[in-house]
């Protein structure tokens, strides 16, 4: 029930081919278990080949100049495959702050490096759990002469370990600002994470040299939060859709009591309910991404997408395990990789409860 343009479908399909051949779920599982690692040049190869790294970077900075609608479509494929590349973290979350910023001179070198796939960015907004939208009060940016430094701590940073530089929100004497800080100037700490397919960590900055992207940036920060929710929702719906397919495939193949289990109403209706949720959440996710692409205010649409996609991904990954029965909760089966990813993504960039509250506020209540 997709209403994508043909071009977008073609891009999505090319990305799907690449991911399916490069990161089949067995390999992702081995990588998650530390039995194999992603070649260092995989991302720059993908950047050169499919233009993924610079997908939404304007052509003047070496990117593809695609819209956020295309980015959403590509993120669905990454969500579907759990491919361990920094598509969400760098090409989406780490890149959109540069699009929001108007300081072309400042952003040029970073965007060019990102588009080439020779650097990756990580978005570092959060200063702790249960604060959404993220606070900036724990991170201070100070200007001295022409140069800025940042001090403070950020956490829940996605793909923290591999980032080349960080986009950091900080408080300044004139409201919130957005800065770029090099990885070499921060102290990184890895976190234990429920999601085995994407590392997460925190960074500590002590007078780290910083390049300002935007000052007086409260409105931009709000916009980045909305975009982050929209983008992660696109990834989530891709994951949920993959899980729907996984459960249906198993339900068509597994035999118990002399029958294909998908012929039992209990199993059939679990699958149908997941379909109902997936199709609704897909609509919400694509609506938000399209509105973002059109430059519309996405405050409400982003919350709707994040709620719907978080809930369906959580529900679907649990239902999938139920459909699989015993085999579904073994370590060897990939079902739990998605179950874990779902619980991780649901908590990032606003939980469903937080977004519901935000929705009412956004609607004026």
């Amino acid at each position: 029930m997709s209403v994508m343009s043909e071009e977008r479908e073609a891009l999505k399909s090319a990305v799907a081919d690449y991911l399916d051949s490069t990161f089949p779920i067995d390999r992702v599982h081995r990588i998650a278990n530390g039995k194999e690692s992603v070649p260092a040049d995989e991302w720059s190869k993908a950047a050169a080949g499919l233009g993924l790294a610079g997908l939404v970077i304007p052509e003047e900075f070496g990117g593809q100049g695609a819209s956020l609608g295309e980015l959403g479509a590509v993120l669905q494929e990454f969500g579907r495959t759990l491919a361990p590349l920094p598509m969400l973290s760098s090409a989406a979350l780490g890149t959109v702050p540069f699009l929001v910023s108007t300081d072309n001179a400042a952003k040029k070198p970073f965007l060019e490096a990102l588009a080439a796939g020779t650097a990756t960015a990580a978005l570092a907004l959060s200063e702790g759990a249960n604060q959404w939208p993220a606070l900036t009060s724990g991170t201070k940016a100070t200007k001295s002469g022409d140069s800025w430094t940042v001090s403070g701590k950020k956490t829940f940073v996605l793909d923290n370990g591999g980032a080349t530089f960080y986009v950091v929100s900080a408080s300044t004497e004139q409201g919130a600002g957005l800065f770029v800080v090099n990885a070499s100037d921060v102290q990184r700490e890895a976190l234990m994470a429920i999601d085995l397919t994407r590392d997460q960590g925190s960074i500590t900055m002590n007078n780290a040299p910083a390049t300002p992207l935007a000052l007086n940036a409260d409105a931009q920060l709000k916009q980045i939060e909305d975009l982050a929710a929209t983008l992660i929702a696109s990834e989530q719906i891709g994951g949920a859709d993959a899980i729907l397919k996984m459960m249906v495939e198993y339900a068509k193949m597994r035999v118990q009591f002399g029958r294909i289990i998908g012929s039992f109403q209990a199993i059939k209706h679990m699958c149908a309910n997941t379909l109902v949720e997936v199709e609704q959440a897909r609509g919400a996710a694509e609506d938000a991404a399209d509105k973002a692409a059109e430059g519309e205010d996405i405050t409400l649409a982003a919350s709707l997408a994040k709620i719907a996609c978080s809930e369906v991904f959580n529900d679907a990954t649990l239902t999938n395990i139920r459909v699989h029965g015993g085999i579904g909760f073994t370590w060897e089966h990939p079902a739990h990789l998605y179950f874990r990813r779902a619980r991780s993504s649901a908590a990032l960039f606003g939980t469903p409860d937080q977004h519901r509250e935000a929705l009412l506020v956004g609607l004026g209540y």
Binding site: I260, L275, V276, E279, Q280, G283, D353, R356, E357, L363
Partner: protein, 412 residues
């Protein structure tokens, strides 16, 4: 459906024409929740609806995409879409014609004889003929093909005996599309024949069926030796099941697409209604209530997006997908959520109220209407079967009755 191309200018001109027509002939929706669909289907309302439909027809705006030779306009789906867009925001008193135009007429167009089409489509479009659909029976609800109303040939006529149920509009319909069993010796789907039946014919008894909410839009219809001329046969003898499936799919598309203009617009009427109530009882600051209210908004918005996507999809020529069933399931979930939260917020006054408290009365109607709303037009379980089997391709259950002669099947 014709597929002649049209220029943007032509479409724009049509849009202005439609806009103008609505401004002159229709009433704006202004009250919260008032989309014209709750006015019931009594004789008064029928008169209003008929006048409206007459005008629409006379001004060349009825049956936009239907062939000219039968009274339509031979325009395109784009015209229909534009018409629907212009219609949103106006009260469309079309509900008495939904079954006629959304289900019966398309079936006649596809399966009827030329004589039948010439005779009926025009009056249907003009609102002069109201039709009803006679499918469900007391013993055949979810299992429509299990019907047992009999038709037996007698010379140039067929004689119908049996009972139908859940027939909307039977009390004011002139004609009905009826499916009957004409051969009990073959499997159940194979012995079914469809007819046009004159609802005023001798032997037809219509009895209103009162629902638990007190409303009675549905009827029971009894057939006691009702004679139907052979010319009223729709399609071939014993080929009625395919035609019936077609009618039911038209129903789903029709309900899903907003029934030829009865679309609910892009608002969030349930959300607005619950906010009003929560504000009145002082619960708009209660976070538990807020979470639920926000959920109502998300479900309502999601349904609206689903509708938009379905319309774009139909517009772009794709076959209708599972949207109808999805929307029906999501819609009844929304209905339950609204009814439950309404009752919780009203507390004692949701279950007893003074005569002048119309608000509580309306909520009670909502609560009492919600179980039926989930069942009418197909239970959630049937919807899930359809989605599981047709959309996801999961195997059917072992069907014990599929290849058995109808007369040998276990029945109620």
């Amino acid at each position: 459906m014709t597929t002649t191309t049209q220029t943007p200018a032509e479409l724009e001109e049509f849009r202005l024409r439609a806009r103008d027509w609505f401004a002159k002939n229709a009433k704006r929706i202004d009250a919260v929740g008032d989309d014209g669909s709750e006015e019931g289907e009594n004789e008064d309302f029928l008169a209003i609806a008929r006048k409206f439909q007459n005008q629409l027809f006379d001004d060349g705006l009825a049956g936009l995409s239907w062939p000219k030779e039968y009274g339509g306009q031979s325009m395109t789906m784009n015209h229909q879409r534009i018409f629907n867009e212009e219609a949103s925001g106006y009260i469309m008193p079309s509900s008495p014609f939904m079954v006629t135009l959304g289900m019966c007429a398309p079936t006649l167009l596809q399966y009827g004889t030329e004589t039948q089409r010439k005779r009926h489509i025009g009056p249907m479009l003009r609102g002069d003929e109201v039709w009803c659909q006679l499918f469900s029976e007391p013993g055949a609800g979810s299992d429509v093909a299990g019907l047992s109303t009999k038709a037996v040939q007698d010379g140039d006529e067929w004689v119908i005996n049996g009972q139908k149920v859940w027939t909307s509009g039977a009390h004011f319909a002139s004609f009905g599309l009826i499916v009957t069993r004409t051969n009990p010796d073959v499997p159940k789907h194979k012995g079914i024949t469809m007819f046009i039946v004159d609802m005023k014919a001798p032997g037809v008894t219509v009895r209103p069926l009162r629902q638990m909410s007190g409303a009675s839009g549905f009827n029971e219809v009894f057939f006691d030796n009702v004679r139907v001329p052979a010319a009223n046969l729709v399609g071939e003898v014993e080929q009625g099941w395919m035609a019936a499936i077609g009618t039911l799919m038209n129903e789903r598309v029709s309900i899903g697409a907003g029934g030829g203009g009865l679309g609910r617009g892009s608002g969030t009427p349930q959300f607005d209604r619950i906010v009003e109530l929560a504000t009145r009882v002082g619960k708009m600051n209660d976070s538990a209530t807020r979470q639920q209210i926000a959920s109502i908004w998300t479900k309502e918005r999601t349904l609206a997006i689903l509708g938009d996507r379905m319309r774009s999809s139909l517009k772009s020529g794709k076959a209708p997908g599972p949207e109808g069933s999805i929307a029906k399931l999501a819609g009844s979930e929304l209905g339950k959520l609204v009814a439950d939260l309404g009752m919780e917020l009203l507390a004692e006054s949701g279950q007893a109220w003074t005569k002048d408290d119309e608000e509580s009365m309306r909520w009670a109607t909502t609560v009492l209407g919600s179980p039926g709303g989930a069942i009418a037009g197909g239970t959630p379980e049937i919807m899930r079967n359809i989605l599981g089997e047709r959309t996801l391709g999961l195997p059917k259950e072992p069907q014990l009755d599929r290849d058995m002669p109808f007369k040998d099947i276990k029945a109620n």
